[in-house]
Every structure is written in C-alpha cells, then in structure tokens.
C-alpha cells in the first residue's frame, strides 16, 4: 500500500507524519521503539482507513521542543495536530507509549475521540505487579523483553550500528526519560481520570507481556466504562510487531463498529 512521508508545523513544532490509505481517519501512535517507519501493521490498517502515523515529538524525525517535559505536553501537541489536520473526530490506536498518549488524549478531549484501541498501553501503575525498567538495561536486553519470541525483535533493529544510529537512539531515550523517568512510565492521575473516556474502547494485551504484564491491561479495562479486554496468546508487549495479523483483525473489526 502506498504511503507518503510529510512534515507539518504543529503550532511551530516540526512534526513528521506518515500517511497512507483512504477512508475514515485513524491516528496511529507508535510505541517508544518504532518511530519513523511504515511497518506492516500500518500497511494492513491502511487497507481500511486513512492511517495518520506521526512521530511523537523527540522521536524519529519530529523535533523535541525544549518545553516538552511531560505527557500533558505531548497530549496538547496532538490536540494541535488534530486541529492542524482539521479533524473534528478521529479514531485512535496506540501501542505502549503511544497507548498512554491515546488514553490521555481520550481523557482530554473525549468528544473528539470516536473509538479507542489501547495496545499494551503504558500510563498506569498496578501496585505489586513489577514492570520492566528500560532505563536499567541496555537496548539489546530491552528488545528481548518486548517479544515473547525474541527472534521477532530483529525487525526493529537497525541494519547498522554507527555512532549516528546510537546517538539517535540515545536522543529518543532522552525524550522517553524526559517524559517518564520518574514516575516511571505512568501518570499517577490517569487512573482516576479515565472515567472521562466516552469512546468505545478496546484494550489489547499480549498474554506473555513481561514489560507491562497483563494486569495492566485489566486495570485499563476496569477503569474505562464499557471497555473490552482482548488478550492475544503467544505474544509479548509489542503486539503490532509480534502478532500483526491478529491485532489488525481485531482492531479493524472493533473500529468498524462490529466488535
């Protein structure tokens, strides 16, 4: 499927956007490891929707403004992005960090988000269920924890490891740390605020997720009224990359209003 790469000025922030497919707009928010590329799950979703896949500020080719300090800044950036694109209503799907942003966006602008799909979404903390700490491990180890079948990690690895590639990955890790070093990968206020979400919500979780264990999916499903929890077997944290077909199938069914 054809897609194009474009740059937008979103309230002055240079933002990289991948766009492909036709139909109802679907905002696709990437996890913390897979910016700046059109992956097979984008492609499959673009068969039914107009896929809008921006790089988060400070990831891929989107700039990191100095004022970017918390998830609320990212959320307001995406409100501005929707304004820039002239989208009054949109469906959103996000994985991990992208899922966290999607949930916060649905809290901030419930009237605007028509349907919400949270895939292994960060953003909550469940007492007594430890998460993997990306900041304590080298990236090679982290990649192993993102998949149930670690051989699947290869698709996210760069083809070469030069100083530029390492420095760029360090830059993205810096953005992630800026947003979520402490509290680590969650917003203490989000759990309570999720009552504001009005969009029909599907929560998708890998049954073998060791990065954010399935208890986190249950917590989302419990906090959002009417949400459905779908668990995917033989799957780790990065569902879009490990069980692409299953994710796309259940997401499309849900987004088209049948699920």
């Amino acid at each position: 499927m054809a897609y194009r790469s474009e740059f937008l000025s979103v309230a002055g922030v240079r933002t990289h956007l991948l766009r492909g497919g036709r139909g109802a707009p679907l905002l696709v928010l990437h996890p913390e490891y897979a910016a700046n590329r059109w992956f097979p799950y984008h492609d499959a979703l673009s068969a039914r929707f107009q896929v809008l896949a921006p790089d988060h500020p400070g990831f891929g080719q989107s700039e990191r403004p100095d004022w970017l300090e918390g998830i609320d800044d990212v959320v307001l950036h995406y409100v501005d992005l929707l304004d820039t694109l002239g989208l009054q209503h949109v469906a959103v799907i996000g994985s991990s960090l992208g899922g966290w942003i999607a949930a916060e966006l649905a809290v901030a602008q419930p009237q605007r988000i028509q349907r919400l799909v949270l895939v292994g979404a960060a953003g909550l903390r469940v007492e007594g269920v430890p998460r993997f700490d990306v900041f304590l491990h080298p990236i090679e180890e982290t990649l192993q924890h993102l998949f149930h079948d670690p051989t699947r990690a290869a698709q996210l690895l760069p083809t070469e490891f030069g100083a530029d590639v390492i420095a760029r990955a360090y830059g993205e890790a810096t953005t992630l740390a800026r947003l979520s070093w402490n509290p680590y990968l969650y917003n203490p206020k989000l759990q309570r605020r999720l009552r504001r979400v009005t969009a029909p919500t599907l929560v998708v979780w890998g049954a073998n997720d060791t990065y954010l264990p399935p208890a986190y999916g249950a917590a989302y499903a419990q906090a959002i009224a009417g949400a459905t929890l779908q668990t995917i077997e033989h799957c780790g944290h990065l569902v879009p990359f490990e069980q692409t077909e299953q994710l796309v199938q259940c997401a499309v069914r849900f987004l088209e209003g049948e699920g």
Binding site: F135, P138, A167, A177, N182
Partner: protein, 377 residues
C-alpha cells in the same frame, strides 16, 4: 607553588570472592547486603585517621567527595565527613569535591551546610560542585535529562544565598523559594571558593572559566587532562584573563615507594581494584538518557576511547591515569606535567581501592617527605 590535597574515596574493599564473575557492576544493583556496618565502623575511623595524619604530614588540604549507593566510595554525604574532619584538624583546607547539587532536593540545604562548615572551620572550606555520575540518577530517582539545568540553577541559588542579604525570593524552573535567608552565612567572603571537578564538557569548562572557578580534571589520562586544561585556558583567555596555576588542577591515584619496581608491585592490585571493580560500570549506567547531549555522545563515540576499566596496569601507567613510582620518578613526572599544564592544585590519593592501611600510610609519608618539598618555592 603547588597546593597538595590528600583525597579519599572511602571505598568498600570487602567485595565477595565471586565479584568478578557474578556481579556486572559495583553500582546501582550491587546489593547493600554486601555492606557490613561493623566493618564499616572500623573502616570509616581508619579512613578519617589517615586524613588527619595527612594534615600532620604537611598536605595543604584534605579532599572528600560524594557518591551514592556503591562500593567505589561510601561517602554519600561529603559534608558529614568534612564536619568530622573540621574539629580534628586545625590548618588544612577541607575540599568538598564536591556536592552533587543536581541530585539534592534542595540547594539551600547545601548552601546551609557548607556555610555551617565554613563558620565552624574558621574559613577552611573549599566548595566543589559536581553533577554526580550517571549511576546516581538511577540510584536516587532523579531525572538525568535535567541534570545540567538543575546544576546551573542550584549553583545560582546557592551563590545568591551565600552573598545576598536575605530574605530574597528565587522563582526558577526547578526550585522555588520565596524567603531564602540562610543562617549562618559563610565566613569566607564573598563565599567559600567554588571548584569544578569534572571530566569536562566544553560547556561546563567555558562556564567555569568565565567565573574563574578552579577546574580539576578527574581520573583520566594525561592526554585528556591536557586537552581539558588547554580548553579551560583558552576559555579563560576568551573571557579576558590568563588562568593562573591556582585555577588549574587534576586528581590522580598516586603511589610512592622506595623504588619504581616496589611502587608498581605494591600498588598494582589496589589500583586494578579501583578501575576494574570500583569503576565496573556498564555504559548504560554511566550515561543514562539525557545525562549528556546527543552531540556529546556522537563525539565521544567518534573518539573511540577505551574505558580505563579495560586497560592493563601498564597501560594505565603509560596513559597517565595513575602516578606510581619512586619519589624521584614522581617528582620528575610532576615537574614535566607542571611544565605542560602549569597546574597549582594537585589532588592525590591515597588509599586506593582495597589497599591496606599500612601501605597507604607509607605512601603518604613518602609523598609528603620526598615529593611535596620539591614544589615549595
């Protein structure tokens, strides 16, 4: 005229026998179950005895520093150790090298403690400021992406608190205080000397040179020390003055014995302990995200430097990471370094790694008796 400082890290030498095989690091995740407070009691007191002895032997100053949650240096609060030294010494400067101000919740606490020490000691305190190393951002839960801006803002607030009549208000980005008004104020005027112990980013070096803060290159090769000090001198020239020797220094593990061969033989296991165990730190602990900029990382990777923890003793010696030899050798090396660096501050240790006290004392005595006098005009 060179001022000599006796520097202590106060390491925890009692690592388990399987440390090299079983433990990837002596920081962050190396459990404090390995710390034994009973042995720690004896050790702290030995270490402080050595520092008191250094004053008696004629060192100009005593250096303490801040590190958190590791076996490399068990001095999370350098101000406490400075306090312990103040009442047991009379003459020596006490150099805190330094307080890791971005790691502290409140800079005014640092301003207060250093002012207390300065008043208590009759103005013998040197106040170094550092960022703390990357590991400590993991250990204390401080966001490393704010390290540099917290350093500058904390510094500004502390200096104001030392020099302005209070109360004044500070509305910064990281610190907010409406009634800053510290009691006591420091004794030295306008404030205790501020030193900058650093491995040196260009930005930090320029910032320090502009303020005439003495720059101390810490635990690196001679080539790197020279590069940093040259950069500092150039920054001073750009700021309109020539950096005098009193503003230039370096810290290097030092060991003096009767002959070169003995010095090497006696110090080798302990120096290797320092670099291979004390400084056993994986890169992602050393450089957590945002601790340095992407540009600095790119430069650092491009330079292809080998970490000293991978080097042999001979390589460490050749590279100038350590200073080991007979008194004559050490004097000659220091004279040559003085010619190249024109330094006026020398921070030497000491009791390196797991060195037994007897060796540390002998080293100190020889250094004080046979090296220091060559640098008194």
């Amino acid at each position: 005229m060179v001022q000599f400082f006796y520097f202590h890290l106060m390491p925890w030498p009692y690592l388990p026998d399987d440390f090299d095989r079983r433990h990837p690091t002596s920081w962050v995740t190396f459990s404090n179950a390995h710390y034994d407070p009973q042995r720690g009691h004896a050790l702290y007191n030995e270490y402080l005895d050595e520092m008191e002895r250094a004053e008696a032997l004629g060192f100009d100053g005593l250096g303490v520093n801040e590190h958190h949650q590791n076996a490399y240096g068990t001095m999370p609060s350098p101000n406490l150790m400075a306090a312990a030294l103040v009442r047991r010494t009379q003459r020596a400067k006490i150099a805190i090298l330094g307080n890791a101000i971005p790691l502290r919740d409140h800079p005014l606490r640092v301003a207060e403690e250093v002012a207390m020490l300065d008043v208590l000691s009759g103005g013998r305190i040197i106040s170094g400021f550092v960022r703390g190393i990357g590991c400590e951002y993991l250990s204390l839960g401080v966001n490393p992406t704010y390290s540099r801006e917290r350093f500058y803002e904390a510094h500004d607030l502390i200096v104001r608190a030392w020099t302005e009549d209070g109360p004044f208000s500070h509305e910064g980005k990281h610190y907010h205080v409406r009634y800053a008004n510290i009691w006591p104020r420091p004794l030295q005027q306008p404030h205790p000397p501020i030193w900058l112990p650093s491995q040196g980013s260009t930005e930090t070096i320029r910032w320090g040179a502009q303020r005439r803060y003495p720059f101390i290159s810490v635990f690196t090769s001679f080539a790197q020390t020279k590069r940093l000090i040259d950069e500092y001198k150039a920054a001073a020239e750009a700021a309109g003055y020539t950096a005098p020797p009193e503003q230039i220094g370096f810290a290097v593990p030092t060991y003096v014995a009767e002959t070169d061969a003995r010095a090497r033989e006696e110090s080798k296991p302990h120096i290797l302990w320092l670099f291979r165990r004390g400084l056993k730190i994986p890169p992602h602990f050393l450089l957590p995200p945002g601790y340095i900029t992407e540009e600095s990382l790119r430069k650092f990777l491009g330079a292809g430097l080998r970490p000293p923890s991978d080097m042999s003793f001979e390589e460490l010696e050749r590279g100038g990471y350590i200073l080991v030899g007979s008194a004559k050798t050490v004097v000659d090396r220091l004279k040559e370094m003085q010619r190249q660096l024109s330094f006026g501050l020398f921070i030497g240790g000491g009791r390196t790694g797991d060195m037994p006290q007897a060796k540390a004392l002998k080293n100190m005595e020889l250094f004080a008796r046979e090296v220091i006098p060559h640098f008194r005009d």
